[in-house]
């Protein structure tokens, strides 16, 4: 015994050595603490860089050129009308705008009529009478039985003026007449810190290319035209209304399908499934596994099942709609619903599990049946938690891109979706397509669309947080 103690003591370092070693150990501890903190900061910096990068691209300066200046167009219009027409172009009435189209691009007027108003197939448009070709449009009665080719330019122009909105006509004038062309765009950071450099580049550009009517101006890619306009091949005029509506349609339909199914499954698993039979265990394990399946796999599932196998349903042909294939909002929503179903089920299960057993006991103790107990006590108590989980799952679905691409979200869609059987595009798809294009201007558009998408997410998440707050307040009594 005594010897062992002696042995051990020889291993303990002397006071001085121990002190030195301790200082070394503390220094090491300090260094690592800094490293741990720095790691966290790197993550946060990445987030910051991401936001800054998006903002940098979404705002800045652009150099534009146009075939005609606004003044030229106004002068030509004044001459045709015989009176002086005052600008700006945007303030003109419908018939003036239509007149501009007739003056500058007379041959394209019937094409615009077809693109904006036709109700029949393009190849039939010139053959069938207007009554049919432009069904639903305002037409003078005397021309309803004629075809478009039999009309005079004035009559065609009158149709445009009477049936198109001011915004569409103005966009057409900008697009087809003025021919706005973005020569180059600069980021926000350069605009703020190197404007002289931008001006020098602009001068060089003008000198080299000699574009008509060059102009350098500050530009926010995120603006009202962008949010409310439809897609366009001109970046200056491109908008995301169609994409936003597509996203909203998909989300609404997805929720309509996934919410009842998810909550139903969660109720079953939490309230009924106690016998532990194979089916219940299978469902439970299966949901956990599904939650980890990459979203693109759901895309393949949707492609094979909803788009192809169920084409008569998903195209709406069974219900008398006239879509050519199943690549519709319906298919997208079904796919998304399956994708977020496990997330909703797991969130709802947690919310239901959090309802105290005492509430159930009290209800059963009064002679309530199982469903009465669930419907009147458990669900109301769990609802806020369920809703929070659902909203969070929605914010995941809203940014999902891959499954939508795989089921074939069409590339360029100009028409707003009108129902479950419409073709569609969606915000993330739009971002993806613009990002993939080489021109700098489309990157700017992608950045602006990202801001809209992030704003949408922010709204959803705030809703979830507020909901959670109000609930915890209510439960405190």
């Amino acid at each position: 015994m005594g010897e062992q103690v002696q042995d051990r003591q020889s291993f303990v370092p002397g006071d001085q050595a121990f002190q030195d070693d301790l200082r070394r150990r503390h220094r090491r501890a300090k260094r690592w603490q800094v490293f741990f903190f720095a790691s966290l900061v790197v993550g946060l910096l990445a987030l910051l860089a991401l936001f800054a990068n998006v903002a940098d691209e979404a705002f800045g300066t652009i150099a534009i050129a146009s075939k005609y200046s606004e003044a030229e167009v106004l002068a030509a219009l004044s001459e045709a009308r015989g009176v002086t027409v005052e600008g700006p172009l945007e303030a003109l009435e419908n018939d003036d705008l239509a007149q501009v189209l007739a003056l500058y691009i007379p041959r394209r007027v019937p094409v615009i009529v077809r693109d904006e108003l036709s109700r029949v197939k393009p190849e039939d448009f010139t053959r069938v009478p207007l009554r049919e070709a432009l069904a639903g449009a305002t037409l003078p009665p005397d021309i309803a039985d004629l075809t478009i080719s039999q009309l005079s330019l004035e009559q065609q122009t009158a149709i445009l003026s009477a049936n198109l909105t001011h915004d569409v006509l103005y966009a057409r004038v900008l697009n087809d007449v003025i021919g706005l062309d973005i020569l180059k765009s600069w980021t926000l950071s350069r605009t703020l810190f190197d404007y002289a450099g931008i001006e020098a580049e602009f001068q060089a550009l003008v000198a080299a290319q000699d574009p008509p009517n060059p102009q350098l101006k500050p530009h926010s890619w995120l603006n009202s035209t962008f949010v409310t306009g439809t897609q366009s091949s001109y970046p200056e005029l491109a908008g995301i209304r169609t994409a936003i509506l597509g996203t909203l349609w998909i989300m609404a339909l997805t929720m309509l399908i996934a919410f009842p199914l998810g909550v139903g499954a969660a109720i079953y698993l939490e309230e009924y499934a106690h016998s532990g039979n194979w089916l219940e265990r299978l469902i439970e394990t299966n949901i956990r596994n599904l939650a980890g399946v990459p979203s693109i796999i759901y895309g393949l599932l949707g492609l094979a099942i909803f788009v192809r196998a169920l084409a008569p349903i998903s195209s709406g042909a069974l219900f008398g709609f006239n879509e050519a294939n199943g690549r519709t909002i319906f298919s997208a929503a079904m796919t998304m619903a399956l994708l977020i179903l496990p997330v909703i089920i797991i969130a709802a299960q947690e919310a239901i599990r959090a309802v105290p057993q005492s509430i159930r006991d009290a209800s059963y103790g009064l002679g309530a049946t199982q469903w009465q107990t669930i419907w009147y006590q458990v669900l109301p108590a769990a609802l806020p938690g369920i809703l929070t989980g659902t909203i969070l799952s929605m914010s995941r679905a809203i940014g999902e891109t891959a499954p939508l691409i795989v089921i074939g979200a069409s590339a360029v869609i100009f028409v707003d979706p009108s129902g479950p059987f419409s073709k569609f595009t969606a915000l993330p798809i739009q971002i993806w397509q613009w990002t993939a294009r080489p021109q700098e201007e489309f990157r700017n558009l992608a950045a602006a669309a990202i801001i809209v998408l992030l704003a949408l997410l922010l709204v959803l998440n705030s809703a979830a947080i507020i909901l959670r707050q109000r609930v915890s307040n209510r439960l405190r009594g």
């Binding site: 509430i359 009290a362 103790g365 009064l366 002679g367 049946t369 006590q377 209510r474 009594g477």
Partner: protein, 263 residues
């Protein structure tokens, strides 16, 4: 419809009751009656199965997935564990008040009206009448009549427990089972509940599980003493009139418990 007062001296009779939790036998061979319009107290050390027996009387044990019951509980001449008996109906007639006050996270009114509503009573005036009478019976009416819309959770602990009693009374059970109803309450609130029980026993048969021997002595007419054997299975040691159990218990284990030697 049979008169809820029925016939015979016993509201409920328990015969050869065994309750299992999974493979474990929780209580063994319980046989005892519950007297009509009397208060019966269940006493005994923790884990002796008194709550288990209580929950067996209105089939609340059905809600525990792994619980299994053998033996008979006779209520109105029928064994309530026969397969054709509806547990929902049993629980309506044999009500329950729990250890911790558990009002629903709803208004006072909705708490009391919930039971009648699930029975299918929708008429607002009838519901108003039931709510008022039940709250009066539970001696809570005067305290809450002006804010029936207030959340049941906003009441004090004692008030919450009386609300739970009112809620149980609203469906007019024959028997009320109380599982340590005062264990979470202060002495003043406890006294009010005890007074309330003495008033209610005129109309209802009451069973109370309690840790507090003084309470059993104060309120009950009959007392059942449970304890555990070496395998931690609960069993009924003694059942008799309360004054007899406390003054001259027939089993030495009862005497030990009452004398405070264990538990």
């Amino acid at each position: 419809m049979m008169s809820s007062n029925g016939d015979g001296r016993y509201a409920v009779q328990i015969r050869h009751l065994n309750v299992f939790y999974g493979p474990r036998l929780a209580v063994r061979e319980i046989t005892m009656p519950i007297a009509r319009n009397k208060i019966t107290a269940f006493i005994g050390p923790s884990g002796c199965g008194k709550s288990t027996v209580l929950r067996a009387i209105n089939r609340m044990n059905d809600l525990i997935p792994e619980a299994r019951v053998e033996g008979e509980v006779i209520y109105r001449g029928e064994n309530i564990y026969r397969p054709e008996i509806d547990p929902v109906e049993i629980r309506r007639r044999i009500g329950m008040v729990f250890q911790k006050p558990n009002p629903f996270p709803k208004s006072i009114y909705d708490n009391v009206a919930y039971g009648p509503r699930v029975l299918g009573i929708k008429d607002r005036r009838t519901l108003d009448q039931i709510v008022e009478q039940s709250l009066r019976q539970a001696a809570l009416w005067d305290e809450v009549k002006d804010d029936l819309k207030k959340s049941g959770l906003a009441l004090s602990g004692g008030q919450q427990q009386r609300l739970c009693i009112a809620r149980a009374l609203a469906v007019e059970p024959d028997v009320i089972l109380m599982d340590e109803p005062c264990s979470a309450l202060d002495p003043i609130a406890t006294e009010r509940i005890e007074d309330l029980m003495k008033e209610l026993v005129v109309d209802y048969s009451i069973v109370i599980v309690t840790h507090n021997m003084q309470q059993a002595r104060r309120v009950s007419e009959y007392t059942a003493f449970f304890t555990t054997d070496e395998s931690r299975t609960g069993e009924l040691v003694e059942f008799d009139r309360t004054d007899k159990v406390f003054s001259m218990p027939s089993d030495p284990r009862t005497a030990d418990y009452i004398a405070g030697r264990f538990g």
